[in-house]
Amino acid sequence: MVATAAGAPIAIREVSHGYGDLRVLDDVTLDVAPGGRLAVVGPSGCGKSTLLHLVAGLELPRAGSIDVDGSDDAAGRLAGCALMPQSDLLLPWRTALDNAALPLINAGVGRREARETAAPLFRRFGLAGFEQEPPGRLSGGMRQRVAFLRTLLAGKPVLLLDEPFAALDALTREELGGWLLDALDQEPRTVVLVTHDVDEALRTCDRIAVLSARPGRVLLTAATDGLSRDDVLEVLRG
């Protein structure tokens, strides 16, 4: 479907960042293998979202370097990453299908071809029949699915998911977590998932990084295999 590499490596080296006097990230070093899925957990305000913006090349770190798929400049990183924000931020004046197809249209693909590329994904990922609905008529869970497909259709090797399900109720979050796993198995990418939900982190990703309270430092990086929720919470509590 969407022509892209199945993932690209990310290397974050000794990155520190802040705004004015506020130090947000402190000496963060992290690696993600091509096609790997890294969960980043930590207390609110520890710089998790900022880390994603830095990886995507939307902001430049004060110190350290970030390399995505061999590019260490902001433009190169931007070319390799697609961001999915916490609130779906779908455009209310476009149908669900046209929202998902927008990254293709942005890339210069014709409207019709973009729709034809996006439509099969709607059928495969439980959105059949909702193509022509405006986002306002979809449930919160449906909107997040559309937002995820939009991120996928950007055709980037790296997906940066910023608390994608945080705004949803617990039941929907649970359901969408399973859906996301399934979608990523079918459409493998390198993923960085920021979340404050430890269970979601352990379920979705193969590695986890635990950040401290601001300024965020890496307290732990580990494979999620065999790691329990309590292990993570213990590190978080310090």
Binding site: H53, A56, L58, L78, C81, A82, L83, M84, P85, S87, L89, L91, P92, W93, L102, P103, L104, I105, N106, A107, P134, G136, R150, T151, A154, G155, K156, L160
Partner: protein, 243 residues
């Protein structure tokens, strides 16, 4: 029913006005009664219909020009950052210039007839549109703009596909304000340099029933333009009324 409460209020006001004039025997050069105004409307219907057409044309052309110029200016000022810093403060300051004072100059440069009136209406009306559009463009959420940058969108694509539609409801708010100026702007401009239009019917200040009749027609024009803009908004920006 509550929607139509204004009709009750209007009828009550007209009735009270008529009663006041009748009971106190107010002479019509001080205050014409609604009945006299209605009479004057009917007696002068041919002239008034013609003058209404003239004023309507000035309002529509002037308003259309204000939208085109107001929105165009906002787009250019948003897309060209340094120009905004250089020009916008001057544009704000220019709003303290009473356009009517410029009327003789406009007449000198453009000549008599429809054109100078239309230009004056446009000059009076464009600013609310520019200001609200600029504000609307700025208010596209930073999160959304950031996300769009990672979804292959160039700054140009972000403007046309995100900022402009995002600003549309605000642009229409500005356009409604401008629409409500247009009627009075047209009358002022007619006073300054025209011998036709409803403004001309208001010139004979002693013929108060005729002045009243012209005011009624002008109010109808103002309401009509306002309503037209509101309808256009519902048609073009349906998402601002959903959810």
């Amino acid at each position: 029913m509550r929607r139509y409460a204004w009709i009750v209020v209007l009828v009550a006001l007209i009735a009270a006005w008529q009663a006041w004039v009748d009971l106190r025997s107010v002479p019509d050069y001080l205050l014409p009664s609604p009945g006299e105004i209605a009479h004057s409307l009917w007696n002068n219907r041919t002239t008034l219909a013609h003058e209404t057409g003239v004023t309507l044309r000035e309002m529509l052309f002037g308003f259309a020009m204000a939208v085109a110029f107001g929105l165009g200016a906002a787009i250019v000022l948003t897309r060209v950052g340094w120009l905004r810093n250089a020009v916008y403060p001057l544009l704000v300051a220019s709003q303290s210039v009473p356009i009517i004072a410029l009327a003789p100059l406009l007449l000198y440069y453009i000549g008599f007839g429809l054109a100078p009136i239309v230009v004056m209406v446009a000059l009076i009306c464009f600013f609310p549109i520019t200001a609200s559009a600029l504000d609307g463009f700025d208010r596209a959420p930073a999160d959304l703009v950031r996300t769009m940058r990672t979804l292959n969108a160039s700054p140009r694509a972000i403007f046309w596909r995100v900022q402009l539609p995002w600003a549309a409801p605000r642009v229409f708010t500005g356009a409604r304000i401008a629409a409500s100026y247009a009627a009075v702007a047209a009358i002022f401009s007619e006073f300054a340099g025209s011998s036709s239009g409803l403004g001309d019917s208001m010139r004979d200040q002693l013929n108060t029933p005729l002045v009243g009749a012209a005011v009624v027609l002008l109010a109808a024009l103002a309401l009509g333009l306002f309503g037209l803009v509101t309808l256009l908004e519902r048609w073009l920006v349906p998402w601002s009324h959903e959810g």
